[in-house]
């Protein structure tokens, strides 16, 4: 015990200096917002904006009622879309696994050379949207499903690779140590010490990415990479609004179903 006889009743979470900094920070943020707003709206033609509700109502009325007889024609493109997403995810995951093991600090063979390369692959893949990958690939390997599949796969490498390597780094070192202590070889340590620990993460990440890929592959057709997006673009080009409605509803339904599948698989794993 110290020799203090009177204890203060006031206590503040932050020092006055910290409070001042905090308020300055908020003020700066508001100023930034106002400035951005000004820059943003400089070229806005306000007449169009004020007109927007009327335009939206106009398109809305054109879109109704949906032309349901168009639905049978959409089944093949929808099947293509699902295939793009599924095959793309499988290919992406297969390529992502070795990248993840090279990128994880505790499994990489060399932190100097291979780890930076693996991290670069992950960043490169993540930084380019799948629509842009598709645009590039349509130019390289021509329009069609293959371009879509490769685009989805390339985009998935980064996503799956990043989450998987984080899972590898979070493995329990004691379990790995125990396997090492038995005299196991490096591959055996991998398959008994590390793989069982990352399996739930692996399946969770893969299914999650598949779910995202279904959504992404619906628009790949816009740039000619096959699937239902091709139909969407065709309908938009001829201003066939009732058909657009049908396509959008179909995409919505597909995404809801895929989300349900992915959620139940993840629940089953955990």
């Amino acid at each position: 015990m110290t020799e203090i006889t009177h204890y203060r009743q006031t206590w503040t979470h932050r020092t006055p200096r910290a409070r001042l900094l905090l308020w300055t920070g908020w003020a700066a943020l508001v100023a930034l917002f106002l400035w951005c707003w000004q820059v943003m709206t400089e070229n806005t033609i306000w007449a169009f904006v004020w007109d927007a509700p009327r335009q939206a109502a106009d398109i809305g009325s054109r879109m109704m009622p949906p032309r349901l007889s168009y639905l049978p024609e959409l089944m093949v493109p929808l099947w293509d879309t699902l295939n793009i997403a599924t095959l793309g995810t499988i290919a992406g995951v297969i390529m992502a696994v070795p990248v993840a093991f090279l990128a994880a600090r505790n499994t990489t063979p060399s932190t100097r050379l291979l780890r930076p390369i693996a991290l670069f692959i992950i960043v490169a893949s993540r930084s380019i949207n799948s629509l842009i990958w598709a645009l590039l690939l349509v130019a390289i390997i021509g329009p069609g499903l293959l371009a879509g599949i490769v685009a989805i796969a390339l985009r998935s490498i980064g996503f799956v690779g990043k989450l998987l390597y984080e899972a590898i780094e979070e493995t329990d070192a004691r379990q790995i140590e125990a396997i090492e202590a038995t005299g196991a070889s490096a591959t055996q340590v991998l398959s008994y010490g590390i793989v069982p620990q990352i399996m739930p993460a692996f399946w969770g990440i893969s299914v999650f990415r598949w779910d995202i890929n279904i959504r992404e592959s619906t628009i790949l057709g816009l740039v000619g990479a096959g699937g239902i997006g091709l139909k969407l673009q065709a309908s938009l080009n001829v201003l066939a609004w009732p058909q657009v409605t049908v396509i959008l509803l179909l995409i919505l339904g597909t995404v809801v179903v895929s989300e349900w599948v992915s959620a139940s698989v993840r629940k089953a794993i955990i």
Binding site: N106, R174, A178, I179, A181, T182, G183, Q188
Partner: protein, 273 residues
């Protein structure tokens, strides 16, 4: 027989965790290693199977110096040393049987371990060991479905599956209640006696050590300060080992732990090459 000669370990930060430890452990002897946190107990047993690399000295198991082995030969020699861990260190998501069979990893080729096609002899032995530790009917349960005491029994079965010539036991009862602790210690001493197996047991609990150990070694700041029968462990000896109130050593304990972990990680990376 295990012989340590001038074993020392200095971590990269310059902390000497072990300095010049010389010991001989004959066949069948169970040795309790006591000492305050940070005295180097963990480092000492990990230097023997080189989960931590010793800086100097010899580790002679039979007539092979473990401290001087290359990677492949080290793996071969590690099969001779069973290790039991504080928090069991079972692979939680594998079954009890897979965990016990993992003690055979050093003996089987990769494809057999990968496909879980272990030789009949290994499987038979695994069942015998599970029966010995009283878990015959839990073989196909997942390890994370067991209680603490049961998990430690699996840990013991895994170590014995290696058909070791030495057991290294790191705080086997630190996560267990007093009754289960005694059951585990009794099981350990029994299986060692059955196989004439020498063992080094890191142990925090001095009364437990006195009850079950044949010989006690007291470690303080990386050096052996006591080596004798449990009955010789008087209060003044305990003061020599633990000090009256050694807070400094306890803080060092945390540091030593994290250094040991970092060291293990580095070596993992090296192994993967």
């Amino acid at each position: 027989m295990l012989k340590l000669e001038g074993l020392s370990k200095t971590y990269k930060t310059g902390d000497a965790a072990l300095s010049d430890v010389t010991l001989t452990i004959p066949k069948g002897q169970i040795v309790g290693l006591i000492g305050p946190s940070g005295a180097g107990k963990s480092t000492l047993i990990r230097c023997i199977n080189r989960l931590v690399e010793p800086t100097a000295g010899k580790v002679l198991l039979g007539d092979i110096n473990l401290a001087r082995l290359g990677k492949t030969e080290l793996r071969r020699q590690r099969r001779r040393i069973g290790m039991i861990f504080q928090e069991y260190a079972l692979v939680e998501r594998l079954t009890v049987m897979e965990n016990v069979l993992s003690g055979r990893l050093g003996y089987v080729p990769f494809w057999r371990s990968f496909l879980r096609r272990y030789p009949g002899r290994d499987v038979q032995q695994a069942y015998r060991l599970l029966d010995r530790v009283g878990l015959m009917h839990q073989a196909d349960k997942r390890a994370d479905a067991l209680s603490g005491g049961q998990r430690q029994r699996v840990g013991i079965a895994r170590a014995l599956a290696q058909e070791p010539e030495l057991l290294l036991v790191d705080e086997p009862t630190a996560s267990l209640d007093p009754k289960t602790s005694r059951q585990i210690m009794r099981l350990l001493t029994e299986v060692c006696a059955e196989r004439d197996l020498p063992a080094i047991v890191n142990i925090h609990d001095v009364p437990l050590a006195q009850q079950f150990m044949q010989r006690i070694i007291g470690l303080r700041a990386g050096s052996v300060v006591f080596d004798g029968a449990p009955s010789e462990l008087t209060e003044s000896v305990l003061t020599t080992i633990y000090g009256a109130e050694d807070w400094h050593a306890m803080r060092r304990g945390d540091e030593e732990q994290s250094e040991a972990e970092a060291d293990a990680r580095d070596r993992m990376a090296a192994l993967a090459e």
